[in-house]
């Protein structure tokens, strides 16, 4: 009876978040109704603790546990950090909101923490089963969160659309997993068939596959599944409706957390597994697979950027506009996947989540109770009434557009750089043109805020302390990544090196 590879340290972050969630539920159950501050504080503490756990795991590269279900490498940990940041800011953003909307507090934070757990598992997974589970945990909890404002038709609708389409795409993902499982069959090896990524990788590289066809088809279906989660064209259709309908804090969480998580899984499978050996030297099934994936993703990336940006131009609702913008950004990040550079993707996600959370935070402040003021026309002339908010929002938007000195620019730069190095020149040019287009609609908001005449009866919205903190953090983060990205980049770089050593 060999060891079960049980290693609680390896899953400490997930354990913490999950148990915090459970704890919140219990207190909620015991004390009838949990104080939002308590719940919030608990989640924040839990997240910090999880972060500490993540840090404690740093540097163990390629160490797998639980029979290869979990892998501990810097890839996982970096993304874990991103998720924790996302949830942290989301909690801050929604701390006041849940009360204003008089929504069940305990469940809300519990669900957030559960979702976080799922995301953490997605990045930690070394086995398709774990990826699937993590993804489902995240999805299901976010289905619920979307419909959290139960009496709001828009909220219902977004929940339902997200649920139907989400589970539908999950079915595809699952089918893809099944195919890959089938393809991995090789009678000689032990186990004969597997869903373990490392084993799959080895078998692909070794060329000992049951059926290349199944592998390819499986990969295709997984692209469908992941593509849905990261909202790349043509699987993006759900996101504008869902983002618009969902309560703003949830939208923030959705557009950052689950997207980042999906990208983590995406990169784990498509970069670290399928593209294990570089495109040039690969042969046989692997080569076919890689070229197919590359071509498909290139097309998808172009479609995603273009559709996202063009559609965003004509939006009048700022949440919807940001939804399309986030589609576009998925497109940019996808370029990183195409270029097989997960570090670029990771950095992109980090800066993107910071910016987006900040922006949505401000939108939440201005939208007020019940998401009332979300039309761009509602932003007319607020620029000088509440200068702070407006400037911050402007900065976030410009950063999304990719102006230097902000994270948005560094992220784009890295993506483009690795894409160019990978020889995807046309892709870079198209991306560049796209971001030129994107300036237009980001500027529209600034125009409305600063250049247009003030809309009647606008009064400075109150900014809760927690919200202010969230925005400030996001702002600082954005600028930090833009001005002094050195440390983060160093971390990523070292991560890559160590992992490549580990792979050897």
């Amino acid at each position: 009876m060999e060891s079960l590879g049980i290693n609680y340290h390896a899953i400490l972050p997930e354990t913490i978040t999950a148990s915090v969630a459970v704890l919140i539920m219990m207190i909620d159950a015991v004390a009838r109704k949990i104080e939002r501050r308590v719940a919030g504080a608990m989640s924040l503490l839990g997240l910090i603790a999880a972060a500490v756990a993540v840090v404690s795991l740093w540097g163990r590269n390629g160490e797998t546990s639980f029979k290869g279900m979990i892998i501990t490498d810097d890839f996982r940990l970096f993304f874990a950090m991103i998720f924790l940041v996302v949830t942290f800011l989301t909690v801050l953003i929604s701390l006041r909101w849940v009360e204003d909307e008089s929504l069940p507090t305990g469940e809300y934070f519990a669900l957030l923490m559960f979702a976080t757990t799922g995301m953490l598992f997605m990045s930690a997974a070394n086995d398709l089963v774990m990826i699937f589970l993590g993804l489902e945990i995240t999805s299901i909890s976010t289905y619920v969160l979307c419909g959290y404002r139960r009496h709001d038709l828009r909220s219902n609708e977004s929940a339902m659309k997200y649920f139907i389409l989400g589970s539908f795409s999950t079915a595809f993902l699952l089918y893809g997993i099944a195919f890959i499982y089938g393809a991995s069959y090789s009678p000689a090896a032990q186990p004969v068939a597997t869903t373990n990524l490392q084993l799959i990788k080895e078998r692909i590289v070794a060329g000992q596959l049951f059926s290349d066809q199944m592998l390819l088809a499986g990969a295709a279906m997984m692209i469908v599944g992941f593509g849905f989660k990261v909202a790349t064209a043509p699987f993006h259709v759900w996101s504008p409706d869902v983002y618009e309908g969902a309560p703003t804090p949830v939208t923030a969480f959705l557009s950052t957390g689950s997207k980042a998580a999906a990208f983590a899984a995406f990169s784990r499978v498509f970069i670290l597994t399928f593209a294990a050996t570089s495109f040039a030297v690969s042969t046989g099934a692997l080569h076919t697979l890689q070229s197919a994936i590359t071509n498909a993703l290139v097309v998808m990336a172009i479609l995603t950027m273009t559709i996202g940006n063009l559609a965003a131009i004509v939006q009048s609702n700022i949440k919807r506009m940001l939804a399309y913008s986030s589609i576009a950004h998925a497109g940019y990040a996808l370029i990183g996947v195409v270029a097989n550079d997960w570090r670029a993707v990771a950095f992109y996600m980090l800066s993107y989540v910071l910016i987006n959370l900040g922006a949505f935070g401000i939108i939440q402040v201005i939208a007020r109770r019940g998401d009332k003021r979300v039309e761009i026309s509602d932003y007319a002339g607020i620029g000088f009434q509440s200068l702070g908010l407006a400037s911050a929002l402007s900065l976030f938007l410009l950063s999304l557009a990719g102006i230097p000195l902000t994270g948005g620019f560094m992220a784009k730069l890295l993506i483009f750089k690795s894409a160019w190095a990978g020889g995807f020149h046309a892709l870079v040019v198209i991306a560049v043109i796209n971001s030129a287009i994107s300036w237009y609609y980001y500027l529209r908001v600034i125009v409305a805020m600063f250049f247009a005449e003030p809309a009647a009866g606008f009064k400075r919205p109150p900014v809760a302390r927690s919200m202010a903190a969230a925005i400030a953090l996001a702002l600082l983060g954005t600028l930090y990544l833009g001005i002094l990205p050195g440390r983060v980049l160093d971390t990523l770089e070292r991560a890559r090196d160590q992992m490549s050593q580990a792979r050897k």
Binding site: V224, T288, N295, I437
Partner: protein, 689 residues
């Protein structure tokens, strides 16, 4: 020393420009005149001090600083004195001084008094710079500077639109000339590698003229103009000259320029600035001597202008316009002279012309003032008893310009006609033709000048009566417009008249053609100029010289050999002189008889309307450009095509966005369909691999 000559007026201009507003007329006048006087005195001083050396062709440099020095290009802010520039500054400063004096009286009571004199002094500075410059770029400084001052002074009465239009016209037309001049200078630089006139070892500068003389003579052929050789340079420079010196086809600005105060017309548009072209051409004579084609063109243009302007001059009613066209015509003479290689004669005519034309203008100014700012000769007549001095002085000018023997005009004009008849530069029958044209214009000159005098000073008094034709616009000023009886001008104006009259009478004796004295008295003027300008005789020599630059000494030798007019020409010269004297007398006689009989004789309207040249220019050039710029370039290309394209791109983007938007139907099922579709494509693509 030279620096002082040009700076004195500049200082004056600066003082007047900055503080003049608070000064009294007397002080202003004092400053203005004294500064000019200073340069005049200095000019005379240097001239006589260095007279001998100048005759030897020695040059005196006055280096201030290196103005522009980029790469191999170098243009110094430095001055040079040689016989040519020496003569020029002499009469410029002299005439200018007296005109300033005159102006102190003429401009009396004008509220822009200080402004006027500031401009005048500034002009003197520019003019002297132009003349004393030792390289083409410095000359260009003066060249444009005088242009500016003429612009400012023509538009002096800035509330009057016609004055402003005239000023603008003058500047723009001159710019067209400068266009050619600038290109010429550039081409010269690209060929000779320098824009300086002469070698100056002290500064390590090579002269363009030595280079020019080192080149053989270009062939006499139209193709040479576009060959990009020395001929091209010469032609381009000449374009500049036609602008500045109001030759065909760029003369149009000069008549309008009369909108300025009369002293301005006298100083700038008669005596000095307009002759800058002639100066430049003579300065570059060593270039021209190797560009026979350019010479021919210059001669033809000159002659044509002389005749053309003379005919128009016959038919003008505005006293100043008559003088203006006469000036154009006389300038034509000067270019004719240069064109036939007699640069000396050209300069000589410039010299004499400066006196009598300045005199005539000032005279007309005195008349105008006496007539209370009336310029229309239809309203004059019989003024000699009101303003005797003016009349007397103008009489001298009249006879001088008409070429009556023993007056200045006679000598210079005669010299020109003679050399155009005997020139070796021009081929075939050109000399005779040109001579003929020159002679005819001489006749006409005599006629229209006589007409002017008769209409002004003799005959019935037509002023104060309303029966005359409607007045041409009269120069303004703060004198209110009443028709009191005319009166003689104050001393400040009369004295200059007298002085200039004397000048006009005697100036000619500076250069008595040898022929007249049968070669006994050498032509002082020409001998003085000899070193500074290449002589017609030299073309042959220079053409023969091998292409490597010849040392200055040898060059001088060539000049010496070339210059002396052969003895057998003396006879011919006498004959021609006789003819031209007859022409002059004839012309005066004709005019006198005819215009005493019918002073208000209506000339052919073609002439009265100056051949409609202005109208043609306006219709053929000005309007089309304006119209097309507005309607095509701006309204269509800019607004519609380019901007339309830009906005169109934006529109397209939002259009596509709209389409994508419509795809977002809001129906979950349709989204599912899209998902399936995408999945089908992906799986299909992957499966087929």
């Amino acid at each position: 020393m030279l620096v002082a000559i040009i700076l004195a007026p500049l200082v004056g201009a600066a003082i007047l420009g900055l503080f003049g507003k608070r000064m009294g007329e007397r002080l202003i006048g004092l400053i203005a005149c004294s500064t000019v006087a200073v340069s005049a005195i200095l000019s005379f001083y240097v001239f006589f001090k260095h007279h001998a050396e100048l005759e030897q062709g020695q040059k005196f440099y006055d280096y201030m600083f290196t103005w522009i020095s980029v790469g191999s290009f170098r243009a110094d802010a430095s001055l040079v004195l040689d016989s040519l520039s020496a003569i020029y500054i002499l009469f410029i400063t002299f005439v200018a001084f007296w005109i300033h004096v005159f102006a102190t009286g003429y401009m009396h009571g004008d509220k822009g008094y200080w402004r006027f004199f500031a401009y005048m002094n500034l002009f003197m500075f520019s003019m002297l710079t132009l003349v004393l410059a030792d390289n083409f770029l410095m000359m260009f400084v003066g060249w444009e500077g005088v242009g500016l001052c003429s612009y400012l002074l023509i538009g002096y009465y800035f509330t009057k639109d016609f004055a402003n239009d005239a000023a603008k016209k003058a500047f723009v037309v001159n710019r067209i000339g400068d266009f050619g001049f600038a290109l010429g200078v550039m081409l010269l630089f690209s060929k000779a590698g320098t824009v300086s006139y002469f070698d100056d070892p002290a500064r390590g500068i090579h002269g363009a003229f030595n280079w020019a003389m080192a080149q053989g003579a270009d062939p006499l052929a139209w193709s040479a103009i576009f060959a990009g050789g020395i001929t091209t340079i010469a032609v381009l420079l000449f374009v500049g000259a036609t602008g500045k010196s109001a030759q065909l086809p760029l003369y149009v600005w000069l008549p309008d320029a009369m909108a300025g105060p009369t002293p301005v017309s006298a100083l700038i548009h008669a005596a000095t600035m307009v002759t800058a072209g002639v100066y430049m051409v003579s300065r570059a004579s060593s270039i021209y001597m190797n560009a026979p084609t350019a010479m021919l063109i210059m001669a033809i243009i000159g002659a044509a202008t002389a005749l053309f302007a003379a005919t128009i001059g016959l038919a003008q009613w505005d006293i100043k316009k008559v003088l203006a066209y006469s000036t154009i015509s006389q300038l034509g003479y000067m270019f004719l002279a240069c064109g036939v290689g007699a640069f000396g004669a050209g300069i000589f005519h410039v010299f004499t012309h400066a006196f009598f034309k300045a005199l005539l203008f000032l005279g007309s100014g005195s008349v105008i003032l006496g007539m209370h700012h009336e310029q229309d000769m239809k309203r004059m007549g019989g003024l000699k008893k009101y303003m005797p001095v003016t009349c007397a002085t103008m009489l001298v000018g009249w006879l001088a310009i008409s070429g009556v023997p023993l007056l200045s005009g006679f000598f210079s004009k005669d010299e020109i006609l003679f050399s155009s008849f005997t020139t070796k530069v021009l081929p075939g029958s050109w000399p005779t033709v040109l001579w003929a044209i020159g002679a005819i214009s001489a006749l006409l000159t005599a006629v229209y000048m006589t007409r002017l005098m008769v209409l002004t000073f003799w005959g019935r008094e037509r002023f104060g009566s309303s029966e005359s034709a409607p007045a041409v616009h009269s120069a303004p000023g703060d004198h209110e417009h009443h028709s009191a009886s005319p009166r003689e001008s104050p001393a400040s104006m009369v004295i200059p008249l007298v002085v200039l009259a004397i000048g006009a009478a005697l100036a000619g004796y500076a250069g008595v053609p040898e022929g007249l004295s049968g070669g006994r008295i050498p032509n002082y003027f020409e001998r003085l100029l000899e070193p500074s300008i290449s002589h017609s005789g030299q073309t042959v020599g220079a053409a023969k010289v091998a292409t490597e630059p010849i040392p200055p000494v040898a060059h001088e030798a060539v000049l010496q050999s070339g210059h002396a007019t052969p003895a057998e020409n003396h006879g011919l010269e006498l004959k021609l002189t006789l003819i031209s004297s007859i022409i002059a007398i004839l012309g005066i006689g004709l005019g006198w008889v005819w215009f005493n009989r019918k002073p208000l004789w209506e000339p052919p309207s073609l002439l009265e309307h100056k051949y409609y040249v202005d109208e043609v220019y306006d219709a053929a050039i000005v309007q089309p450009i304006k119209q097309s710029s507005t309607s095509i370039l701006w309204k269509i290309i800019d607004v519609h095509i380019i901007d339309g394209g830009v906005n169109g791109a934006g529109y397209l983007a939002s259009l596509l966005g709209g389409i994508l938007r419509r795809l977002q139907s809001g129906l979950a099922r349709s989204y599912v369909a899209v998902l399936v579709f995408g999945a089908l494509l992906l799986i299909g693509y992957f499966a087929i691999r």
